[in-house]
């Protein structure tokens, strides 16, 4: 038994080994919310570098925006008709916004489930968590939508640009009180988190001072939100004094500016901060923990984090070169790291829906039923401890940063049974709304993952290699075959006959014989602790 995390000595050199479906699946597990069997095959055929290029290319079709699906017998949105999008409507009404926040979450599930073959949604969640805002606090639906669109539109772009956009984003101004930050009553909230959580961080020798926090707050005075939910710079509220920073920032002085020029100080502040190498390392560590593994020791720091941060700086904080290097590295494909992440609830639920290719009603043409069924997934995520776009606080979810446990924090005696109950229910009875049912199609699944599902040995091998990334004991596979697929019989052809009987004559009886056994098999495998890893 392994008692401690292990470190690979392999560095960032490009992986030169065989490119198999195992590698393709590993890459997709980390860059998508789970992969379909056809995705794994697609990228396996493409090869390593072409796969990464495609995954990092997020120029994709525009998403249909979230809709008013929440009108009911007791509530009607006065501004937006049913079936039309609410993202451009400005309102401060609490009830309307509450409905829109929920609508956003349901929509988000549909976006995640329907994601294309690129890193956008997985990486956008990384940035959303990195800039951990709470939808519940921001309150206004349109602001929440626009806030997360920043990440969706810039996820593989320039990090400095993302920080700039977020710094004066109305949702962030609201969330960290930037709109209340004035020369007479400076609010340090954003000035602090900008340095502690978003850029240079606290670990690894970043020693900015409390004065630096106060000065950053002064630089940022004057930003407000207008009645149309746009951010504006109000120079009458801006502190025009000079701001001199500590030796950590080499005693840099940002000269106080008047009138509209006061807003330029914000850019100067970011330029100053982005000169710190700590920033690149801080972000690279976080990316490493999200895409590879949380454990970082001196070897990782020297072999991975430092060279990766050099790439980040050399490319003027472009994100794509960093990810390209990391995701193609021999380090990334070391067997030590295959399957070592405990899935977040989002990974667990969304990957399940994608692996089994669960089909929801169309989210535009059949929006009422579609959003209703997606809401079930939102509730699942909440019960498992990851309320989408509503992390517990500004730091994001603890499982992404809390040392030493990190992703172990997702799993406890309350959440693990809920994860199992969810997969059991989706396999057994599914979930129904207006006679539209989302449920696992066991037979289609067997066909998707296995070239020859009539052979019980091949079927079990294929299902395991698709669903789990750990080594499964041959004795367990044998007993699953014998006890479930063969119902205690010793000859393989009993399963083969049953499968072929259904395949050639799909009567209810023939279907049930195959279906009940596949259900038992899949439930068993999904309940293995191994399924909780990716």
């Amino acid at each position: 038994m392994s008692l401690a995390p292990k470190t690979s000595a392999l560095g960032l050199n490009t992986y030169k080994g065989n490119w198999t479906s195992l590698h393709s699946k590993h890459l997709l597990n980390r860059t998508l919310f789970g992969a379909k069997a056809s995705d794994i095959e697609y990228f396996k055929t493409k090869g390593l570098m072409a796969s990464i290029d495609e995954l990092l290319n997020v120029q994709t079709s525009a998403l249909p925006p979230p809709l008013n699906e929440y009108n009911s017998t007791t509530f009607t949105d006065p501004n937006v008709p049913s079936g039309k999008t609410w993202v451009n409507d400005i309102t401060t009404d609490g009830t309307i916004n509450s409905n829109r926040r929920n609508s956003y979450k349901k929509w988000l599930i549909s976006v995640w489930v329907g994601q294309e073959r690129n890193i956008r949604e997985k990486l956008s969640l990384f940035w959303s968590n990195h800039f951990g805002t709470e939808a519940d606090t921001i309150g206004y639906g349109s602001m929440i939508y626009n806030h997360h669109q920043i990440f969706r539109n810039n996820c593989v772009g320039n990090y400095k640009q993302i920080v700039r956009l977020v710094t004066t984003d109305p949702a962030m101004l609201r969330y960290l009180n930037g709109y209340l930050n004035t020369k007479t009553a400076p609010d340090e909230n954003y000035g602090r988190e900008l340095q502690e959580l978003y850029t240079v961080g606290k670990e690894g020798g970043a020693k900015y001072s409390e004065e630096d926090v106060k000065n950053a707050a002064k630089v940022l005075t004057g930003w407000r939100i207008d009645a149309n939910f746009n951010s504006i710079f109000d120079s009458t509220r801006h502190d025009t004094t000079n701001k001199t920073f500590s030796s950590f920032y080499k005693g840099t002085t940002i000269t106080g500016k008047t009138a509209a020029n006061g807003a330029l100080e914000t850019d100067e502040l970011l330029t100053m901060i982005f000169q710190k190498t700590e920033l690149a390392k801080f972000i690279c560590r976080k990316l490493y923990r999200y895409f590879v593994y949380y454990y970082i020791d001196n070897t990782i720091e020297n072999n991975i984090i430092t060279p990766l941060s050099n790439i980040f700086i050399a490319n003027n904080y472009e994100i794509k070169p960093v990810l390209k290097t990391l995701l193609s590295s021999e380090h990334f494909y070391d067997t030590l790291y295959i399957g070592c992440q405990i899935k977040s609830p989002i990974d667990h639920v969304i990957a399940f829906l994608r692996q089994y290719e669960i089909i929801f009603p169309n989210s535009v043409t059949d929006y009422a039923d579609s959003y209703f069924l997606h809401n079930y997934m939102v509730n699942q995520l909440i019960s498992m401890g990851q309320n989408p776009v509503d992390p517990p606080n500004v730091s994001g979810w603890p499982a992404y940063y809390q040392t030493p446990d990190y992703n172990k924090l997702w799993i406890n005696a309350d959440t693990l049974p809920k994860r199992n109950k969810f997969t059991d229910l989706m396999i057994d009875t599914g979930y129904t709304r207006n006679r539209k049912k989302i449920i696992v199609n066991t037979i289609q699944f067997a066909k998707n993952v296995c070239a020859n599902p009539s052979d019980p040995n091949q079927l079990i091998e294929s299902v395991f290699s698709f669903l789990v990334s750990t080594e499964i004991a041959a004795s367990l596979k044998a007993s699953l075959k014998n006890q479930i697929l063969l119902s205690g019989q010793t000859s393989d052809y009993y399963w083969t006959d049953a499968w072929n009987a259904y395949d050639s004559n799909s009567t209810t009886f023939n279907f049930n014989i195959v279906n009940t056994r596949l259900k038992s098999l899949l439930k068993y495998i999904m309940n293995l602790p191994d399924y909780q890893l990716q």
Binding site: L3, C340, A413, L480, Q489, A498, N527
Partner: protein, 523 residues
Amino acid sequence: MERRKFIRNSLALVTPTMISGNAIHVLQDHPLLNTSLLSTSNTDKVLVIVQLSGGNDGLNTVIPLSNYANYQNARTNIALPENKVLKLMGNNATGIHPSMTAFQNMFTDGKLNIVQSVGYPQPSFSHFRATDIWMSGSDSDQYLNTGWAGRFLNYEYADYPDAYPNKTNPDPIAIQIGSLSTLTCQGPAVNMALSISDPSSFYNLIEGTDAVSANTNAGYELSFIRSIAKQTNLYTVRIKQASDSVTQQVAYPNNNLAAQLKIVARLIKGGLQTKVYLVNYGGFDTHSGQVVSSDTTTGSHANLLKVLSDSIAAFQSDMTGLEIEDRVIGMTYSEFGRRIKSNASGGTDHGAAAPLFLFGKNVRGGVFGENPAIPAAATSNDNIPYQFDFRSVYNTILQNWFCVSATAEIEILLKQFPTIPLINASVCGIKDKNSVFTKETLIYNYPNPFTNMTKIEFKTNGGNTSLLLLNGEGTVIQILVEANYSFAGTNSYILYGAGLSAGVYYIRLQNVDKTSIKAIVKI
């Protein structure tokens, strides 16, 4: 920290409240915290179901000595020598396989009974379908998603699994040994049997060992998740405690079935209030080489039956030694019997009805039912027709062992099936029904064999009476009579030969709870 320790340490601090959305307070008086609840004076009745996977060859298990010539003639290459067949005390008509000396002794002690020719009207010859039929208790043309024991347990524990375990029901209500749950205990909503979906399987739990994880980071994280999974199963602590509390057991033979039964014995004695245990033993699909041709009393089938008989006998003697035999019975079953006529490769193919065994102090010893009617010249298609519907056995266990009311029978078995007096009537305080069995001939026909017509005379005591015609495969092909007679007496039915191809047929009479079978031949 382990969950239990955490709970204990937290009691002083945690008043009924929510922690991270989890209602911790319900755990304060959680039964797991009170080991004294493990009962030592438990009076609950327990059923142990022994599934024999593959389709046991009933004719070489329970041998129709009264019809030995036809038996021998039908399976010359595998027939057991008449003088080697073990005799049953007080019964000259029927014997058992020579390897089952342990069963012979149990029979003498009155702790074993044999139910002849158990099956159902339209037998399925598919392992899967037949297994599903037996487990679900369905008609052969009916598909049920629930198991017969699952419906019974759901009837008794309608609110399972919400808020289980609890003070009244601290234990799993059914346990499948070997960790994979089957249809038998599937209830309307969930499987009522505990299945430990942890790779450290049931045996690891009992032995207290852990599964091995790979020496990778995945292995490191996996061992963490497994430890949580173990804590999560609220029953594991009780199972381990119950198992550990039993220190003295009789010697069991060294085989997989005995190992399972040994655990069952520990758990029952250890105080679990579990009502149903399921164990499984496979390998009965003996299409070829089921005997050693030079000595047909040896070979693979003989070995299987020896394991079965020795293991159950050890279990029964353990029950006696542990002083819990009053409240434990068991039954064996297999998804079907095998063909009357053996095949050329020294084996037998999938068949229809077969005998099953009930064991325990509270079963009524004896042989129930008639020896199967074996035609003088059996063909390769001929099967043993069912005398007892398997659901009659289930219903007997429900009504005469678990004392379930007759009205509940419909809810659980979905139809009415007559009980058979297999269990001591005193258990549920019912009227003795031994009169069901009689040496009297209930069916008579002339001529036999017949060509154009034969006259069937059948005796009834009045009440519901049915007369069925089965073909040689054991499948019901025609209902000849279905009536409710006001008076006892002999009635008759003329069966015409037109439309019947030549061969063996069976007439099955059922009069309330009496059954009888007669073989007839069309030429």
